[in-house]
Point group: C2
Chain length 123, copies 2
């Protein structure tokens, strides 16, 4: 447990690793859900993803997403709050994340992404 997990610096983020991260259906769903949460500027914690898989499997995917620089984890008490590293990704790979997210949105059903109905809409 303990201290804040390791994250790569912006410059250390590699394109193939990011693409590989996003190519897994569960991780793509996690990223998609984080992206929707971005709009209401709050973070999500592990438990918000139980619909996708079991705890330990999620921890495995979270670790991968962190190591590849796709998301960031902030430890707060017994929770881990996660958010996309959008600014870093957009700087490093302009347009990539948005293209992936909008492509995923188009295929939301086929990809079995949780739709926006469980996300609180802002205004």
């Amino acid at each position: 447990m303990s201290r804040t997990p390791l994250h790569p610096t912006r410059e250390q983020i590699e394109l193939p690793m990011v693409l590989d991260c996003l190519s897994d259906p569960i991780r793509l769903a996690i990223v998609y859900q984080l992206a929707q949460q971005e709009r209401v500027s709050s973070e999500l914690c592990c438990g918000d993803f139980y619909a996708l898989s079991g705890k330990s499997n999620l921890a495995y995917h979270f670790a991968k997403l962190r190591e590849c620089g796709v998301m960031q984890t902030r430890v707060a008490g017994t929770n881990r709050f996660m958010r996309l590293r959008r600014e870093d990704l957009d700087t490093r790979f302009p347009g990539l994340l948005d293209a992936v997210l909008s492509s995923a949105a188009k295929d939301a059903e086929r990809l079995q992404l949780l739709s926006e109905c469980d996300v609180v809409e802002a205004d």
Copy 2:
């Protein structure tokens, strides 16, 4: 050998499979090289990629790129001419290919992509 290999239809192209394809450094280099060739509207054949890996390994990656709908192979005599399925990809996943290609171009050295010096520039 024989008849034209199978390719998925446009609608059968899946986002995770495409991302997975592009996440392998050799396949990314192949796609990058095909994209540069696009500009001079000619095709490339297997032998043009020997710098990346051996024959049989390339055939493996070509098969994957074909199965995932990223590129198309046209049989002509003893050669196989290949090109990106840009129109299909752009329709299915708008902006994705370009974002990947320009991100790759930014990191060309790090990714060990062959630079444009071996590609004929069209003015």
